[in-house]
């Protein structure tokens, strides 16, 4: 099998392409008036992110991103938008006025700056590392899923079981909430 390290240029190029795609899509996502357009741009963002995950050697997560977010969650969003017939942007003005938008944008930039400061300051040296730790890079006995599944079912078993309960609760809750009052 041909590993990524032989293609640094190609790899980096692709990374930037999809990073830009994610960025553009998310910007479009927040600026579209139509909920359907917004949802589709968000799907696009998630796709780009899935690709980025794959490039960051998290193939399983990338696939799950598509399967869960794009394939399930966003479909449900879209479904609800259509079910409630809210797809048309003209139905109500959704975006706030200019003043709040400016302030929100300022807050967003501030937040980004702060996050970046925080993210970069302790990691400077290590962020430049491009080699992959062996645990992630080499597929073990369980294939590419093994390294993720291992801790999931041993170290984080309790959390895993709790999320299963959470899902059950969510299912019941959703059914009860969405059920028509008879």
């Amino acid at each position: 099998m041909i590993t990524n390290e032989f293609y640094p240029l190609f790899y980096t190029f692709n990374f930037y392409v999809f990073a830009l795609l994610a960025l553009m899509s998310s910007l479009f996502f927040v600026t579209r008036k139509s909920p359907v357009s917004a949802a589709l741009w968000l799907v696009s963002t998630m796709f780009a992110l899935a690709v980025l995950y794959v490039m960051l050697d998290a193939e399983f997560i990338g696939i799950m991103q598509i399967l869960v977010y794009a394939g399930a969650i966003m479909v449900v969003f879209l479904f609800v938008v259509m079910l409630l017939n809210l797809g048309q942007p003209s139905e109500f003005s959704d975006i706030r006025k200019n003043g709040p938008r400016l302030v929100a944008g300022f807050l967003g930039i501030l937040l980004t700056a702060e996050l970046l400061t925080l993210a970069w300051s302790p990691l400077d040296a290590r962020l430049l590392v491009t080699t992959v730790p062996p645990s992630v890079a080499t597929a073990g006995a369980g294939g590419i899923i093994g390294p993720v599944a291992g801790p999931l079912f041993t170290e984080y078993l309790l959390a895993f079981e709790l999320t299963s309960v959470l899902l059950l609760v969510a299912i019941i809750g959703a059914v009860v909430l969405a059920k028509k009052r008879s």
Binding site: R96, L107, L110, L111, E114, L115, T117, L118, S121
Partner: protein, 737 residues
């Protein structure tokens, strides 16, 4: 509790000479009456569900006499007293007195064991750790020593007799099991009081007997006056309990111990005669004044006569009211260190003795006479323990238990007969008023004889028990009045010796009055023409043996009880007689305290002592003579025909208007202040208005302010959240750089 105590018994005091004797079953002493209480209580509960024809709520008992009258009335007119008895009456009659008898037997066995050993150290049986809180370690421990032994014997002995008497006296009462349950419970608490090895446990007993007293005074609670009397006793006792508690707190905070042994061990930390020990003793005495009906807290005791007569005999004459005397004797070490407090005790006792005796002169209710007599005699006991003659005080306590129990039970017998007579004729006259009696000696000969014995005993006629104990007290007062620490002390600027002479005078006066009013009572009750009525006269007869039997026993004790502690004066006269047996017996407990207060010289010169005895005998005889010569029972008319008394008589008949004065001085102002200030002002205005409603309004106002933040707009929340997060992150970033 029984089980745990049995387990810990094995680890109780070992090495003590009593450890291997019957004393190791000391826990059974209170446990047996408790068992009786449980059994009788359960029986009364089961019976309450199915009370049968004798329904107490339907008949409205005003008095013990009324109850029978009413139940009888429901069945038509009959001569005999037989009504439908309680269905568990037989069992109750067995259990109630039975547990007491068993306790008495055990007490006697322990007493026999104790006689054989030296009791320098009390025998303490630790049952379990009761309050291990921080520095405070209080065990549920029972203490056996000569003093508590005497008390236990009195309580169980007299208690057994009165229980047996009650079987006859209460047999037709619908609340028969309840009565015995209360009575058993009372004995349990009383034994706890005297056996407790520390003040808190004693306090439990102290409060417990108070509770039982309340329950038994209000035994016929369906009548308002009885319930009120119970409440009065309870409330007045609370004042005393406050003193007891404060004294306990002071002891603990200063000595760090509350058990008698621990206090005895660390008492030298207290400065003798200092303000601290005086304060402690005065607070203890406040407790005693409440429980033992001393001035100014005596007022509840006469009202307590609302209870059944055997209760008056047991609780309000023989045992509970003497708990104060016991407490001072028990705390003799402390009191001996506080001469001022001791003088206070003696003075209050003396004043009470005279004061109550004067009231007793003009009472018409036979039980009221005895009640004031009790107050008066308790005053004597306090005079005794006040001047440091602890053994004399306890001696008088004991003899008083004999003759006063006898007097009460005798009066009960009289009332029983009177009631039966009125009952048979459906009369509603007062069965307790002496003006309705007279000439009863031909109808109640046994009671008459026994009551005279008791009267002579209480009046102080030689050979009878009261003479010795009263004489002992009076001679002790006289002896201490000179050359003792008490005489040297100064009480509110008055020299101690002067005070003691005054107390002695009070005692003599009270003795004179005692002889007078007791003789008066006897004359009006048993002598002269009968005023009961033509019809009723035929129904007067002696009570059954269950009632007269205990009377006989008590009569014997009243007659010869004095020989337990004959003064030296007599032994020198007749060497064959036993000496100061009781004083010697109590020596390990109160000996040092007595010695400390007695000062250097022990006894009075024999001549002085003979003189004092002569004075006492003269006074007693004089009292009887005065009474016999001045009073004309034949001239007395029935209650319904007697005129209003005037002047001093009226004042005495109304007990110096003390109740009325209390009503005006304390009760009414308290109610007025409570209504106007506490209720309307503080409770409604400040507590309800400012605090409760105010805090609610404050919370509402604050909530309104907070609610303005809750716009319900998720968008707003998001804005606030984001701004906060950005600010926090910014602060964090700044901190990192």
């Amino acid at each position: 509790m029984l089980l745990s105590s049995m387990q810990t018994i094995a680890t109780a005091t070992t090495g003590h000479p009593l450890a291997d004797t019957a004393a190791k079953f000391v826990w059974l002493l209170p446990a047996l009456p408790l068992l009786g209480f449980v059994v009788n209580g359960l029986l009364s509960l089961t019976a309450a569900a199915n009370i049968g024809p004798a329904d107490p709520s339907a008949v409205g008992h005003g008095h013990d006499d009324h109850s029978q009258e009413s139940t009888h009335g429901a069945h038509g007119a009959h001569d005999d007293h037989h009504v439908v008895r309680h269905r568990h009456a037989a069992l109750v009659s067995l259990v109630g007195p039975g547990v007491l008898a068993a306790s008495f037997v055990l007490a006697a066995a322990i007493f026999m064991a104790m006689r054989g050993v030296e009791m320098h150290v009390p025998f303490i049986s630790t049952l379990f750790s009761w309050m291990p809180v921080g520095d405070l370690h209080i065990d549920a421990a029972l203490q056996l020593d000569p003093l508590s032994m005497v008390m236990v014997l009195i309580i169980t002995g007299v208690g057994t007799l009165i229980h047996i008497f009650s079987v006859g006296y209460m047999q037709d009462d619908p609340g028969y099991p309840r009565y015995f349950a209360y009575l058993n419970l009372f004995v349990f608490f009383m034994l706890l009081l005297v056996l407790g090895a520390n003040y808190p446990l004693m306090f439990v007993g102290w409060e417990g007997v108070g509770l039982c007293s309340y329950l038994l005074i209000g035994f016929w609670f369906s009548e308002q006056a009885n319930a009120d009397a119970g409440k009065k006793a309870f409330i007045v006792n609370r004042i005393g309990d406050f003193g007891f508690l404060v004294a306990m707190f002071l002891l603990f905070s200063n000595l760090g111990a509350l058990d008698f042994m621990g206090i005895a061990g660390s008492a030298d930390k207290l400065q003798p005669g200092g303000p601290l020990v005086t304060t402690i003793c005065l607070f203890f005495f406040l407790g005693c004044a409440g429980k033992s009906a001393q001035l100014p807290l005596y007022i509840w005791l006469p009202d307590a006569m609302a209870g059944p007569t055997p209760v008056s005999a047991l609780i309000h004459a023989a045992t509970m009211v003497t708990a104060g005397v016991y407490l001072i004797a028990r705390s003799s070490l402390l009191f001996s260190m506080a001469p001022v407090a001791s003088l206070t005790v003696a003075l209050v006792g003396g004043v009470t003795a005279l004061f109550a005796a004067t009231i007793g002169l003009k009472q018409w209710d036979i039980k009221k006479v005895l009640a004031y007599s009790t107050v008066s005699q308790l005053g004597y006991m306090f005079v005794g323990v006040g001047v440091g003659a602890y053994a004399a005080g306890v001696f008088h306590l004991m003899t008083h238990a004999f003759f006063k129990a006898l007097l009460f039970l005798g009066s009960g017998s009289v009332i029983y007969a009177m009631h039966a007579a009125y009952h048979a004729t459906h009369s509603h006259d007062d069965a307790q008023d002496m003006r309705n009696m007279g000439g009863l000696k031909q109808y109640l000969p046994i009671t008459w004889v026994l009551m005279w014995i008791a009267t002579l005993a209480i009046a102080g006629i030689p050979v009878f028990s009261g003479f010795f104990s009263k004489d002992e007290i009076l001679s002790s007062v006289f002896a201490r009045a000179h050359g003792s620490p008490l005489a040297d002390a100064v009480w509110l600027g008055i020299p101690g010796s002067a005070l003691l002479y005054f107390v002695y005078a009070l005692g003599l006066a009270a003795a004179l009055l005692t002889a007078i009013y007791m003789t008066r009572m006897m004359l009006y009750t048993f002598h002269g023409p009968n005023r009961t009525g033509e019809m009723e006269r035929n129904h007067l007869k002696e009570a059954p043996w269950t009632m007269t039997g205990p009377l006989v026993v008590l009569g014997v004790l009243s007659a010869i009880g004095g020989f337990l502690n004959l003064p030296e004066f007599f032994t020198t006269l007749i060497p064959a007689l036993p000496g100061e047996t009781l004083a010697k017996w109590l020596e390990p407990v109160v000996g040092s305290a007595t010695a400390r207060l007695a000062g250097g010289e022990g006894h009075l010169p024999a001549s002085t002592e003979q003189l004092l005895v002569g004075v006492a005998i003269t006074i007693a005889v004089a009292g009887i003579v005065i009474a016999v010569t001045r009073l004309k029972p034949a001239a007395l008319v029935k209650k319904s025909e007697s005129p209003e008394s005037v002047g001093l008589e009226k004042m005495l008949e109304h007990k110096y208007y003390v109740d009325e004065a209390y009503e005006k001085a304390i009760v009414t102002p308290t109610i007025v202040v409570s209504r106007a200030v506490l209720w309307k002002g503080i409770d409604s205005g400040i507590i309800d208005g400012l605090m409760v409603n105010g805090s609610a309004m404050f919370a509402r106002a604050f909530g309104w302010v907070g609610s303005q933040l809750q716009s319900g707009q998720v968008g707003t929340y998001a804005w606030v959240l984001v701004i906060g997060a950005v600010a926090l992150l910014g602060a964090f970033v700044r901190a990192m750089q």
